[in-house]
């Protein structure tokens, strides 16, 4: 765990670990896994709120719990930047992690694959592989998405690729 900041480490140790090795095609075992996912997610969200570090909202959009949608935000220079957040639980879950997507940033950074999937290869995939099946969605957000936002959002904002919503020119103003 060397290389992670104290906040991430502290949050990580408090997120409950999961135990069911089950994916969306595993019927009852998946329901069990989904319960564990909820519990880990509830715990992580509570920790964030307690530490005044609330930074995302995410919940399943289908009864099977395989499609998750919501939003995340990052504060840079005292301004908050919001991004829609979404992912599918892959059929091979939890052997493979969910591919976290920030669709509004698609094409704006090299650290991203087609469709707005954030690049997790170096900093997160080995950790996920090492901790399968004990890591869940909450861990993916904590160790995958959070460091990605911390590294990329400042660059995207400073380079002008991402504009604060207050600074954006509305379509009615821009059309001449």
């Amino acid at each position: 765990m060397e290389g992670w900041d104290a906040g991430t480490k502290s949050a990580l140790t408090q997120i409950p670990l999961l135990s069911s090795r089950a994916g969306p095609r595993d019927g009852e075992a998946w329901k069990q896994r989904l319960k564990e996912e909820y519990k880990a997610m509830i715990a992580y969200t509570t920790i964030n709120k307690t530490n005044d570090n609330d930074w995302f909202r995410i919940s399943p959009t289908n009864p099977e719990g395989t499609r998750w949608e919501g939003s995340c935000w990052y504060v840079h220079n005292l301004r908050r930047y919001d991004f829609p957040l979404q992912f599918d639980i892959p059929v091979t879950y939890p052997a493979t992690a969910p591919e976290i997507e920030l669709p509004t940033l698609d094409g704006k950074t090299h650290k991203m694959y087609r469709g707005g999937k954030i690049c997790l290869t170096v900093h997160f995939k080995p950790l996920w592989a090492k901790n399968c099946p004990r890591f869940g969605i909450a861990h993916a957000l904590c160790l995958g998405l959070a460091p990605w936002l911390a590294a990329e959002v400042p660059i995207l904002v400073d380079s002008g690729m991402v504009k604060h919503k207050d600074d954006e020119v509305t379509p009615s103003q821009s059309s001449s």
């Binding site: 140790t13 408090q14 409950p16 670990l17 999961l18 135990s19 090795r21 969306p24 095609r25 329901k31 069990q32 989904l34 319960k35 564990e36 909820y38 519990k39 880990a40 997610m41 509830i42 969200t45 509570t46 709120k49 909202r57 995410i58 919940s59 399943p60 099977e64 395989t66 919501g70 599918d88 639980i89 892959p90 059929v91 091979t92 052997a95 493979t96 992690a97 591919e99 090299h110 650290k111 991203m112 694959y113 087609r114 690049c119 290869t121 170096v122 995939k125 080995p126 592989a129 090492k130 901790n131 399968c132 099946p133 004990r134």
Partner: protein
């Protein structure tokens, strides 16, 4: 000044010719009609004469059998599209193409797709080009993401239509694991291919469920770049690509595929390609008895149980071959007591613990999952019989506050 005028004249003619070619290519494409039987006749109009010549040369016993085979290609990118073109030109019977992406200008550093196809789905653009090249091939286009639950159902059902070989030409671990899952469940032989993110190395791998290591048996192998990894600049980009490396890997993959289908030469179980040193490591991998993929373990059991039948068949084959040749000792005297030992198991290893005995130049891409005998930190097993809806309400409450 005469020479200059001549040049001007020729230049004008070249320009005229170019514009004529450009306009004619769009207006009337003379599409060839379908060919009923593959002919070995050597005439300009026979698209298969050079392929059928493989029979006369004694390389392939029956080339025309290629028309009976169906191949599924997953991932129609730098490797998959070229592999599809190669198989199309070889006259494969049926090709099933899977990809969820669209053609973009950023793909133009690779082969196959044309700038005028930008915006089309990769599968449709491929069908367009491939059907022009060879109308004899039956083409099926599946534009979808196979890693989602819905996409996977379509994928697995389409493979049930009778596919002889699946070629994995995807660019990520997740999709490979999905193909692995489907093939393990369907007892489907498949071939994996990959090009490293730094674009200078690649590999192909044969996977026969139960018989060889599956993709989940061990962390995936990658060919080490051969240069000091610390000197590689990873900042800023997540993937580079070269048409050369991709073309080489596509060629190796389809060559192995043709050898497998048409039964000639040796089918490679694993072949790596390190372009910086032009080094090609090979190896064999046996399945991991403790593989985390349940379908793989089931296939391994089936393979073990079928061993007596396989042995009997192999013995019968050898006997048939022996009886056809007159048996006599190869060497009458054997002064040094030289004898031949069976080396069929040499060079192969169980996927579970290969890291110490990998051939030079191969490394694992990801670590193996840790085994924890004791709990490290809290787990969610306490009171786990909670109601799912109650948990949903709790999360919703947190999310709305």
């Amino acid at each position: 000044m005469a020479a200059l005028t001549d040049f001007g004249l020729i230049w004008g003619k070249i320009q005229e010719l170019v514009s004529r070619i450009m306009s004619s290519s769009k207006t009337s494409i003379p599409r060839r009609s379908k060919v009923k039987d593959m002919s070995a006749e050597v005439v300009d109009s026979n698209p298969y004469s050079r392929l059928m010549a493989l029979q006369r040369m004694g390389i392939v016993e029956n080339y025309e059998r290629i028309r009976d085979y169906s191949v599924a290609i997953v991932g129609i990118g730098g490797v998959g599209s070229v592999a599809a073109e190669m198989l199309t030109r070889c006259g494969i019977g049926r090709l099933l193409l899977y990809d969820y992406d669209t053609v973009e200008l950023a793909n133009m550093n690779r082969l196959f797709f044309r700038p005028d196809q930008v915006g089309m789905t990769k599968t449709d653009a491929a069908v367009q080009t491939l059907s022009e090249i060879n109308p004899d091939v039956v083409l099926e286009s599946y534009s979808m993401n196979i890693t989602t639950v819905k996409g996977f159902d379509v994928f697995i059902n389409s493979l049930k239509s009778g596919v002889d070989l699946v070629l994995s030409c995807v660019d990520n671990y997740e999709a490979r694991m999905v193909i692995n899952q489907a093939c393990n469940e369907l007892r489907q032989t498949w071939m994996e291919s990959g090009v490293s993110e730094d674009a200078v190395s690649g590999h192909i791998q044969l996977l026969i469920p139960g018989e060889t290591a599956c993709f989940a048996c061990a962390p995936p192998l990658v060919v080490a770049s051969g240069v000091d990894e610390r000197t590689l600049k990873r900042e800023g980009v997540c993937a580079a690509s070269l048409p050369t490396t991709m073309g080489v890997v596509a060629g190796l993959l389809v060559q192995n595929c043709l050898k497998y289908l048409l039964k000639f030469g040796q089918v490679s179980p694993y072949l790596g390609y390190n372009s910086l040193k032009d080094y090609f490591p090979t190896m064999e991998m046996k399945p991991n008895p403790q593989c985390s993929n349940a379908a793989c373990v089931d296939r391994q059991k089936e393979y073990m149980e079928s061993k007596p039948a396989r042995d009997a068949a192999a013995k019968a084959k050898i006997e048939a071959e022996v009886s056809s040749v007159i048996e006599e000792p190869l060497h009458l005297d054997n002064e040094w007591n030289i004898s031949i030992v069976d080396d069929s198991d040499a060079g192969s290893s169980t996927a579970a613990n290969t890291s110490s005995i990998l051939p030079e130049g191969l490394v694992h891409e990801l670590p193996t999952a840790d085994k924890y005998s004791e709990q490290v930190g809290p787990t969610v097993t306490d009171g786990i019989d909670d109601d799912l809806e109650e948990l949903q309400r709790q999360l919703d409450a947190l999310n709305s506050s």
